[in-house]
């Protein structure tokens, strides 16, 4: 197998501002091969976003990486100088954010928002950047790129805005795209189109994707592999087909059983058994007690 694009090893993140450090990630490891699409599944508070933020160096105030490393194409992101890291972000590593309604600058035209990435990251001239922005809009199936390029975000629907954000993420032919719940606010038919777009662009540009979601359905359709997270720890990971067809861990089984399906009768829905998560929480506390030094 090719050397991984992303290798997260034994990542510990803690909120260090308190007198006792509060663990947020408890030794997370995952790898993504070139061109691989990996789902990262968990409920709110599981630490999904914390992983993305660690990669981008955008941990919230007080939180920091206390142990472990994040290798991007073999280089330790934490060891990079700020300027080097900034060079990578937005070009080699790109983000498709969650909320298309608030992630675009409301007072800048679409063309300017795509153009600035191309001019700063790829040093393109203004005219070349505009021409490339038109191509990118066409790539995300926008009918009239020449018209849309001069519009403001409020003139576009949520689905269109999400397409713009996808175009921006792929603007510099990234090696790795972090997609943070990019379809939560969208209708199912629009969501399906956004998934297809991510799939097509990912193939065309040969990018690897870390697809963050709480929806196993999206993982099933888009991702070859999946990592299930709870309380800042990896509960289970593997090939999507295996994890969904025969989940090893009770938590994964319980999450799947708690997912309603239109093709199954109402009584098939089983609420999450609290004892399952209680066990995971006490495991996490036991881990913290045994690894206190990892959070300093």
């Amino acid at each position: 197998m090719n050397a991984p694009v992303l290798e997260i090893a034994d990542l510990h993140v803690a909120l260090a501002s308190a007198s006792v450090p509060v663990p947020l990630l408890r030794g997370v490891s995952l790898t993504i091969a070139p061109g691989e699409v990996r789902g990262l599944v968990g409920e709110s508070g599981a630490g999904k976003s914390m992983i993305g933020r660690s990669i981008f160096g955008l941990l919230p105030g007080g939180a920091r990486i206390t142990r472990g490393r994040i290798l991007f194409d073999g280089a330790d992101l934490a060891a990079l100088a700020d300027a080097e890291r900034r060079d990578l972000l937005g070009s080699r590593i790109a983000l498709v954010p969650q909320d298309p309604m608030t992630s675009l600058n409301p007072v800048k035209r679409i063309g300017d928002q795509i153009g600035v990435i191309l001019r700063v990251k790829l040093k393109m001239a203004r005219d070349a950047a505009r021409a490339r922005a038109l191509e990118l809009l066409a790539e995300v199936a926008i009918r009239e790129p020449a018209r849309v390029i001069d519009l403001y975000p409020h003139e576009l629907s949520g689905g269109m805005r999400q397409r713009i954000l996808i175009a921006m993420a792929f603007a510099c032919t990234p090696r790795l795209v972090i997609a943070d719940e990019p379809t939560t606010a969208l209708d199912v038919t629009v969501q399906r189109q956004v998934l297809r777009l991510i799939h097509d662009l990912q193939h065309r540009h040969g990018a690897a994707v870390l697809f963050v979601t709480h929806n196993f359905g999206l993982v099933a359709k888009l991702c070859q592999s999946v990592t299930v997270l709870y309380a800042g720890r990896v509960v289970e990971d593997g090939a999507t087909a295996n994890v969904l067809a025969s989940p090893r861990e009770p938590y994964t089984q319980a999450l799947l059983a708690a997912t309603p399906r239109f093709d199954r009768p109402a009584d098939a829905l089983v609420p999450l058994d609290r004892s399952v998560t209680d066990t995971l929480l006490s495991d996490a506390r036991a881990y913290d007690a045994a690894h206190a030094e990892a959070y300093r």
Binding site: D187, T189, R261, F262, L272
Partner: protein, 279 residues
Amino acid sequence: MSGALVSLRGLRVSLPNRAGKPLFGPAPLIEIVRGVDLDIARGGALGLVGESGSGKTTIGRTLVGLIKPSAGDYTYDGVDAGRMDEVAFRPLRSRIQMIFQDPQSSLNPRLTLGTTLVRPLAASGRLANDAARRRRAGELLQIVGLPVEFLSRYPHELSGGQRQRIGIARALALEPEFIVADEIVSGLDVSTQAQILLLLRRLRAEFHLTLMFISHDLSVVRALCDQVAVLSAGEIVEKGATEAVFASPQHPYTRELLESVPLPDVEAGWIMAGTVATV
């Protein structure tokens, strides 16, 4: 249908189109609901599904009396509720309740949950004194599975699921017979969503509620509703028993919606079978 608690015939609703408002003068009207026929049997649970802009929420708001129909009939328990003025509708207000989509913004952040729950009880004049109302508020918390101590908490201290339980408790305060729930589980995690769905299912049986459940999520509708109506651009394109409609959808739009739902089964062709519409 004679056993229907809620009955709509040729319902049309127009709302002002703010985007098209001229500088002076009123905004032009735009028809959101275009001739809807719908019945909800007493004790039934109807899922109203459709995409954004299809008119789901407008129908819900019409049923609770927040919007008046521009044409057609809305009959509630045999009376013409669609043409009632505010005063005539008032007796229905306690019988019909709505639970809103966003529990964060539908609870007053400055009021304790106790106050939020006591207010409708006080306004209805049913319970004579404050002690009785506080008791009832505590009871409501227990009904939705929250500890009584929550009476003195504020909305920001709660998780999304807990806030939605408060929304449900508030809707139940006046012992309604009909509840309109608008996308109430869409922002929640899988496990919280399952808990709220099962809570609603239990409450429905316990209090003999009639339910209209508005959602864009067909899987959630299957878990709760015996009947379903599919709305597209203000018109119902298909309706029937949920199981039957989902097992063999007749209308192409229903089929498209169902095919678009990503079920958690690996299916290699699914993503490529979808097309990307040029927009």
